[in-house]
């Protein structure tokens, strides 16, 4: 890395003049402004708003924003400016990716499904009122199902042969408290999104940092970091979650932090091995020779070139998070104040014999979400990484 000496040589390049140095990109400005605005809001929430009043009470929105929500907003901002905006900026590449991606039909369906989950989860709770306890409407069957009249108090639909029929008033039925399952699933989507986005953000940040530092520093630093990664990899994560939840109680924020902090080892490994491989490439040498700094090499060349493996790794990590949350909720160790899918699956367990939909509906949504992530990961691997062997799945 021959760039650290003062550049008084005749062949040095004045990067300022060329404008390729540290110019402020739209993305960076956007992130800076949004994060600044978020930060101001957090300060406002912490210092100005009294403890138990909702954050946005001043504008008439009675929702108390939690710490996890702020993290979620931050991850959304970063996702928007570094994930979505570049796709718009490089329209030609986007079209190419899309052409490659489109050939894989299950993956396109998966993407549509996940986008729907994302949009509904993000905006749905603003329009759909939160599910309320209504004991008179308990155990209403979903549309097309029926349940013996003895289990329900007030049947919302018609009663045929002593069996209560489902109605569109409760499209997916109700729970033993009379909560509307459809609404609970919509609210659960938001929990899912928070889980996926925040934990992923943590994984990307730590994984990429450790991977690149390890690859570039080498020697003792590399050894220590990678040995730590080894240890983290051999610790069975579910057991670790159980142990932590056992000792500290399982709030959703804690779960998200746990998932994020203990699953970055794969990403770190990918980034490290990729960075090591890439440093041997001609184009990296060319960039180094023309005087790019270590930071610039990593930021502009190594990380973009490892994106494909990071993204693929993440699409396979996220279902793991969702699964772990559902498993913990099922064991009764999750955050029972949060309307997640896992909680709903667990809630229906005791009524399986006559009201199976309470468990089945959220279970199938979870199943399809995980399936969609898997298909998507598989297709992204083919679309983003041209070197990988194309596998037609359709």
């Amino acid at each position: 890395m021959a760039t650290d000496e003062p550049s008084t040589r005749f062949d040095s390049v004045d990067w300022e003049e060329i404008g390729g140095g540290r110019e402020l990109t739209t993305n960076f400005i956007g992130v800076a402004v949004s994060v600044g605005a978020l930060f101001v809001l957090v300060l406002y929430d912490v210092f100005v708003v009294p403890g138990d009043t909702p954050t946005f009470a001043a504008v008439g929105w009675g929702y108390d924003v939690t710490g996890l929500d702020w993290l979620f907003a931050l991850s959304l901002v970063l996702f928007g400016f570094y994930g979505v905006l570049p796709l718009y900026q490089n329209a030609r590449m986007t079209r190419y990716y899309w052409r490659e991606f489109r050939r894989n039909r299950p993956a396109v369906a998966s993407l549509a499904f996940l986008t729907a989950v994302f949009v509904i989860g993000l905006l749905g709770p603003l329009f759909i009122p939160s599910p309320t306890v209504d004991l008179f409407a308990k155990y209403q069957p979903p549309v097309g199902f029926e349940v013996a009249r003895t289990y329900v108090i007030n049947c919302a639909g018609p009663v045929v042969n002593g069996a209560c029929q489902g109605t569109w008033q409760y499209p997916l039925g109700t729970t033993q408290n009379g909560r509307d399952i459809f609404r609970m699933i919509v609210y659960g989507m938001q929990v899912t999104m928070k889980l996926a986005f925040v934990a992923t953000l943590i994984v990307i940040v730590i994984g990429t940092a450790v991977g690149t530092v390890s690859a570039y520093m080498g020697g003792m630093v590399d050894e220590v970091l990678m040995r730590y990664v080894d240890i983290q990899q051999s610790f069975p994560t579910l057991i670790l979650y159980l142990l932590v939840v056992y000792t500290y109680g399982g709030s959703l924020l804690l779960l998200v932090l746990l998932f994020g902090l203990f699953s970055w080892e794969g990403t770190a490994r990918y980034v490290r091995s990729n960075a090591l491989a890439k440093t041997e490439e001609e184009y990296i040498k060319a960039v180094q020779l023309s005087g790019a700094s270590v930071y610039r090499v990593i930021r502009r060349h190594i990380i973009p070139n490892t994106t494909s493996s990071i993204v693929t790794d993440l699409t396979l990590l996220i279902p793991g998070f969702l699964l772990a949350e559902a498993q913990l909720a099922f064991l009764g160790l999750g955050d029972s104040t949060v309307p997640s899918w896992g909680q709903l699956i667990a809630a229906g367990r005791s009524d399986l014999s006559f009201a199976p939909w309470i468990t089945l509906m959220p279970g199938f949504v979870l199943f399809f979400t995980i399936l969609a992530f898997n298909f998507l990961g598989d297709a992204l691997l083919d679309a983003i990484n041209p070197e990988a062997q194309a596998e037609a799945e359709s």
Binding site: I231, I239, L243, L323, Q327, L331, L352, G363, I370, N374
Partner: protein, 324 residues
């Protein structure tokens, strides 16, 4: 610097890993309030006693009044001399409780592992031999289904269909039946099936992708040209090189899955194995059992990683031992 030295270093490293894990678990538990101490305090307060005094007594009883380093040393020696403490809720030593539970866990783990190890590579090979045919797509679909459906959810559905609706399998696990009996086979069929579908997918995918590389290899073409039968080509020329990368992932992967899914599957099917032991202990706040089972699971995972690495180096002659 040959194989022997590498293995020595690798085993030593496994010891370091277990030591670190033991320390981390101790740290986690030491940093949090002991549920049994607070329980004693609550009980004393309820019975009109002095909660602070009761708390002190409970701490003394459990050796929590000793200095931190002393407790750490005691704990670590306890772990390595297999003195894992006394289970309050089960009234037996933790090691004994673990052995009792292991008896039930092994009963479904062995058939499950054998099935996955036997069927996974074969189906993967079959898939790559008929690449892009409907059989391949069916196998791929099955693989995706397998690892997308949450094990516990799948278990619930199967239990609902076959246990509650059809009544083919018992809903409650019966511990009284002998190990090698039809009744036991029937009640273990569902847990084994759930675990196999959950884990065979990844094995199938890896072996399919790996073996498809060898399908067009020169040595396979040569064998074909010499008139070697299809079966022999697949069995000897494709399957064997496929097993090398596969065996490296399979051991660790299965052990890892064993740790995670055995817990859920045992809870769903109410099998009194290790996973349920841990689950029960967490619910009952029995710290020594929680710790004991956690350590057992992590040791299993560490040993799995160790075996995986060793198998890798022994099987693949291209591995350079010097820079692991």
């Amino acid at each position: 610097m040959g194989l022997g030295w590498y293995i020595t270093r690798r085993v030593a490293w496994a010891f370091v890993v277990t030591f670190v894990i033991v320390s981390i678990t101790w740290g986690l538990l030491a940093a949090s309030p002991d549920p049994q101490v607070s329980q004693a305090a609550t009980q004393a307060a309820l019975q009109g006693g002095n909660p602070a005094e009761a708390q002190e007594r409970a701490r003394e009883l459990r050796g929590l009044d000793a200095p931190l380093y002393q407790r750490y040393i005691d704990y670590v020696t306890g772990v390595y001399t297999l003195d894992w403490g006394w289970s309050q809720t089960r009234n037996q030593p933790v090691t004994e409780a673990i052995l009792d539970a292991l008896y039930y866990t092994i009963q479904y783990s062995i058939p499950w592992t054998v099935l996955v190890v036997l069927l996974g590579p074969l189906v993967g090979l079959y898939s790559s031999a008929n690449q892009y045919s409907w059989k391949d797509h069916a196998a791929t679909g099955f693989a995706f289904f397998g690892y997308a459906i949450p094990n516990f959810f799948f278990g619930i559905i199967l239990l609902l269909i076959f246990g509650v609706q059809l009544g083919w399998i018992p809903v409650i696990y019966n511990t009284d039946v002998p190990v090698f009996s039809v009744a036991n086979a029937i009640q273990l069929a569902m847990p084994v099936f759930v675990l196999v579908t959950g884990s065979i997918g990844a094995v199938m995918r890896v072996s399919r992708n790996e073996s498809s590389e060898f399908m067009q290899a020169d040595f396979v073409k040569t064998a074909k040209a010499k008139g070697v039968s299809q079966l022999r080509i697949y069995g000897r020329h494709v399957l064997r090189p496929t097993m090398v990368p596969l065996s490296t992932t399979i051991v660790g992967y299965l052990l890892f899955l064993f740790v995670g899914s055995s817990l859920l599957v045992e809870v769903v099917f109410s099998i009194p194995g290790l996973g349920r032991l841990l689950y029960r202990a967490i619910i009952a706040q029995d710290t020594s059992v929680v710790l004991g089972t956690t350590l057992f699971f992590t040791f299993v995972a560490t040993v799995g990683n160790l075996i995986q690495d060793l198998v890798y180096t022994v099987l693949d002659p291209r591995i350079n031992f010097d820079d692991r």
